[in-house]
């Protein structure tokens, strides 16, 4: 058997899970870029150093985002990846494609790029990996012709993303698909023409299960929720118990606020204490239903650790009715972005700015009242810092 050129990459194919190496080898059979990519990666593994130079061209006319320049620092060895730019394509909300749309996307990429894709990147976009500078504009033109547009990158509003919501899920409290699409179309300029201090991400989950992990991954999270009592079908609860579900142990004891009791015959929920974790509803889908009045909780400030540490979003609006055209929501987004744009340092995310200047400054600037639901850790840190004039008003 002939000796492999990529013994270290081959190791990755031996594991339990499908490997990207297999895909790269397939692509390498018909595309020299993919072959050089593979060989450069092998060299990186061997030398334990990356061989990419980051940044540069944003080469589509009128756009400042959606293309991420990448260059090899060993073009002498790998001339076909001398330029290997990424294109981020705005995904259809909820990631619903017709097969002909996917075929069109792949045809465009076979024509202009390496043929390698990442569907989908952590941004949510369809990531097209590896093209040359002279193909950027023509690739974009072909993508536009097929009905696609580029997504966000750099110091811009990143492509908003949402869970599949009412498209497939019975727990959807809001139409996450429509909210996301509406926001995307309303803020096109902010996506394509970077003018912010840094990146800004919006993600929409239709229920508190938060399947797009908006609470951890976005500066502005919209999470569907409800008001009112969780409805209980006691017959179905009894059926779950009869089928072997230990309701005390697996439902009540795992409730984070201990707002449920079970006496063997009847399940009771003290809705005022419920914090919408969805655990009981997820476990007893036939027995429990969310309250009837639906809307969304708005949270702010989530981010992964880059300049500073990771932050989870925290509540700024406990309940907002969300109905088209979502003016209240979009107006709030604009007020928040404007404040951040005014006071944020370069490369400072919104959550970091709020931490630096304080929540009360933020609330006053964007015109939101302080409410108890904003207390981030009510049982460990119940302190809210009021403005001095508010304290005096209370004393009187």
């Amino acid at each position: 058997m002939a000796k492999s050129d990529t013994p270290l990459l081959d190791e990755l194919e031996g594991g339990k899970w499908p490997s990207f190496v297999k895909d790269m080898k397939q692509a390498a059979e018909k595309n020299p870029m993919a072959k050089d990519l593979m060989n450069q990666l092998e060299l990186s593994y061997k030398e334990k150093i990356g061989h990419w130079k980051h940044g540069g061209i944003v080469g589509v006319k009128g756009y400042g985002a959606g293309v991420i320049g990448r260059y090899s620092d060993r073009p002498d060895l790998f001339p076909n990846v001398q330029a290997f730019h990424t294109m981020r394509v705005n995904h259809p909300t909820g990631w619903f494609y017709k097969t002909d749309a996917l075929r069109n996307l792949c045809d465009v990429w076979d024509k202009h790029g390496s043929g390698l894709t990442n569907l989908h990147g952590s941004t949510g976009d369809a990531i097209l990996l590896g093209t040359t500078t002279d193909h950027l504009q023509s690739c974009f033109d072909d993508l536009s012709g097929a009905g696609f547009d580029l997504g966000g990158s750099g110091s811009a509003l990143r492509t908003p993303s949402a869970c599949v919501g009412p498209g497939r899920c019975e727990w959807a409290c809001i139409d996450s698909l429509d909210v996301c699409y509406n926001i995307t179309m309303s803020f096109q300029d902010k996506i394509h023409r970077p003018m912010f201090p840094y990146k800004f991400k919006i993600k929409v989950s239709a229920c508190p299960n938060d399947c797009v992990a908006s609470i951890a991954r976005s500066d502005f999270s919209v999470i569907g929720t409800w008001k009112g009592k969780i409805s209980i079908d006691q017959k179905e609860v009894a059926a779950y118990a009869a089928s072997g579900l230990d309701i005390q142990k697996e439902v009540c004891d795992l409730c984070p606020t201990k707002c449920m009791t079970w006496n063997g015959d009847e399940l009771k929920i003290y809705d005022a204490d419920c914090n919408r974790c969805m655990h009981c509803i997820n476990l007893m889908t036939k027995a429990l239903r969310q309250g009837k009045e639906k809307g969304a909780t708005i949270l702010i400030g989530g981010k992964a650790p880059i300049v500073e540490g990771a932050l989870l979003s925290w509540v700024i609006v406990p309940f907002m009715k969300l109905e088209p055209p979502y003016e209240e929501l979009k107006d709030l987004i604009l007020r928040i972005q404007d404040w951040w744009d005014e006071y944020g340092k370069s490369r400072e995310r919104l959550g970091e700015l709020i931490k630096r200047l304080g929540m009360r400054v933020f609330l006053r600037a964007v015109g939101l009242p302080a409410v108890p639901q904003m207390v981030k850790a009510p049982r460990t840190n119940p302190y809210v810092f009021f403005w001095p004039e508010e304290i005096q008003k209370e004393v009187k």
């Binding site: 980051h54 940044g55 400042g64 985002a65 260059y71 750099g154 110091s155």
Partner: protein, 79 residues
Amino acid sequence: MGVTMSDDLKMQVCELFREKSKGDKKMFYIRDVTRWLPGEDRHAIQEVVKVLLDEEVLKYWSSGSTTYLVLAEFFPKEC
């Protein structure tokens, strides 16, 4: 938003870019540009920068996570 662009402001931004680019540093954040003109409306400056980008006097340079602005003549040559 009713931001109107003045030619004066456009010229000012251009001149500042040229002046600030005389040193080693050629790439600037949009935040740098708004700081150069503390008395001017931030939105108006952003609009001017967009026009200068359209006219290809300025160019975007992006690392993928952060975007910079650079005078077209100083845009780094492809490696």
